[in-house]
């Protein structure tokens, strides 16, 4: 009896939830439909999903321990036992690549977790209040944008000392101006629109206008930009690791693997090549997905909405 009642309650709740969120649900269905229609986005999405699964389930998927050395089996070519061969310390390359996905995703997520809020905060403030606040924030951003991103990241990374954590900080410091500028630009155009005037006429405070009216509109643009940047972050992080500024051995980092493997390129090509492919695929996947999301979130593409 009791369980029946609970079941009914649950069913009612699900039905009413569906009704309350009908427009969101139809929106979501349309998004799925649009993704399905674009094969490249599907490819990107598949690559990223594989990457995420690799990162989360690495201990269960990887055939070997990524840091266990087997010096009797150094530089073994790809075989049944070691699908992608082993490196100069006899470690299984496939296992290291699988664990490396986690390192790469961690870098991406942490850099964006620093940059998105920071960029949004500074950009909204600069765009909305204007005047000297805008001037100060944007001139600092200009200083950061005046240097090539990789060079600046390397400089900061060197100054902080080589480690994975410092690499993330260095990349985050070079990326925030992009988001701040984007958020500022969006805010500048949104704050002139009639509904902001209407909000002002209602006596809404600046804080509420920024958080409840301007932010939700900015966010979509920033998320698109962030997905497009994920590939870049992986690339820069790999570059820094390659130069010895990023992850330190024995971390299974792709850039580091390419870096140590480059000595063996002629005779044992598999050592640097497979990690290189991993970087290539991940960046490619993120770029395809980013492009796809940009197209899908374009309101002009979304027709036939009721």
């Amino acid at each position: 009896m009791v369980s029946n009642l609970a079941k009914e309650n649950l069913q009612n709740w699900i039905v009413s939830w569906g009704k309350r969120h009908s427009s969101e649900i139809s929106d979501f269905k349309e998004t799925v439909y649009l993704i399905k229609k674009s094969p490249l986005t599907m490819v990107g999405l598949a690559v990223i999903l594989i990457l995420i699964i690799m990162a989360i389930f690495a201990p269960y998927i990887a055939p070997y321990d990524p840091v266990a050395m087997h010096l009797d089996n150094r530089l073994a070519p790809p075989s049944k036992a070691h699908l992608l061969g082993t490196d100069e310390l006899g470690r299984d390359i496939l296992s290291r690549i699988i664990y490396g996905a986690g390192v790469a995703l961690k870098i991406v997520l942490i850099v964006l977790a620093i940059d998105l809020p920071l960029g949004i905060l500074l950009g909204l403030a600069a765009g909305y209040f204007g005047g000297w606040i805008d001037e100060i924030i944007m001139r600092i951003a200009d200083i950061f944008m005046a240097f090539p991103r990789l060079i600046l990241a390397m400089a900061i990374g060197t100054a902080l000392g080589p480690s994975l954590r410092n690499t993330m900080i260095a990349i985050a410091l070079t990326m925030w101006p992009v988001y701040a500028r984007l958020a500022r630009g969006e805010t500048l155009s949104i704050k002139e629109r009639t509904f902001i005037e209407a909000e002002r006429a209602l006596g809404t405070s600046n804080f509420r206008i920024l958080v409840f009216n301007i932010l939700p509109i900015c966010v979509s643009t920033l998320i698109v930009r962030a997905t497009l940047d994920m590939g870049n972050i992986i690339r820069i992080a790999a570059g820094m690791s390659f130069l010895g500024l990023g992850a330190q051995p024995p971390t299974p980092d792709w850039g580091l693997m390419v870096s140590t493997g480059r000595n063996f390129l002629i005779n044992q090509w598999w050592v640097p090549t497979f990690p290189g492919f991993a970087i290539l695929l991940a960046v490619f996947g993120f770029n395809l997905l980013g492009d796809g999301i940009r197209d899908i979130s374009d309101p002009y593409l979304r027709r036939g909405r009721q």
Partner: protein, 347 residues
Amino acid sequence: MAEEILLEIKDLRVNFYTYRGVVKALNGVNLKIYEGEFFGLVGETGCGKSVTASAVLNLVQNPGKIEEGEILFKQKNLLKMSEKEIREKIRGKEITMIMQYPIAALNPVINNGDQIAEALIANKNMNESEARKRTIELLKEVNIPQPEKIARQFPHQLSGGMAQRVMIAMMLSTEPSLLIADEPTTALDVSIQAQVLSLLKDLISKHRATVLLITHDLSVVAETCSRVGVMYAGDMVEIGTVDQIINNPQHPYTKGLIKAIPSDRSKELVEIRGSVPDLVNPPSGCRFHPRCDYTKPICKKEKPQVLQVEKEHVTACFLYEESRNKKSKEEYAGEYKGGANGRTDSA
């Protein structure tokens, strides 16, 4: 008509500092609005109606600046209040504004219900479930069918008339004492216009609010308002009750506007020749003189004074002054009845 003055604007001047020069958008506007009335503000595009409205809320946008004048709302000068004070005590609580393009005035990424609920939470200190309940009630009050469904939809899914109703619900949600309606029906088609206006009228009498209705359509004013102010190029040229303005206009501009209303098919429509002057270099003297059919030499030199025609009826025109002087001379010659009593036959 209640005799309590709710809003009084005294000699309000607003300038816009642009590249081309200083645009003198408001050139000393005087206005009184009584409690509980429906006041119409009429004039051509660019004559300063909307600027007056935003000045009342102290929301004149850059590069505009309120130069001088007083805006007394419930005997308090709004122009002397700090931005914070006016935001917390006046906007939303005492005075709200309905915009011309309702769909543009609603945030496109927030659903209709949440927008109204947000206004309630921010201004009335309601909690979320109370606000949601009240939102549905408000939507019902503005005659929206299926309010629960509309509350879940987004502004782009609404028609213009619906969106304007949502807007009205939002602006009335905080129970303001003055509602400024800036061309609320301009973007709507005629049949919806009438609906929205009658709805607005009903709601206002129910909520006991006062309305400042800004429009360029004298027929809308005739239908809804009790008193009217006619503006021309930043000047208030005539104020009176609807009856006085429609049946006994004194200023040539008001007369021109009335002649331009399509009323009778047999009558030919008469336009006011010329167009609104450039307010960077406004015409000297009376700003209407280049377009006026009765221009006299003095019109080019001096700004006409505001003169009382009847009770509640004032105008700023030399023609009226002249005819009144003529009349009072005649009256002096005959039997002096005291003061001017209107009726002029000069125009």
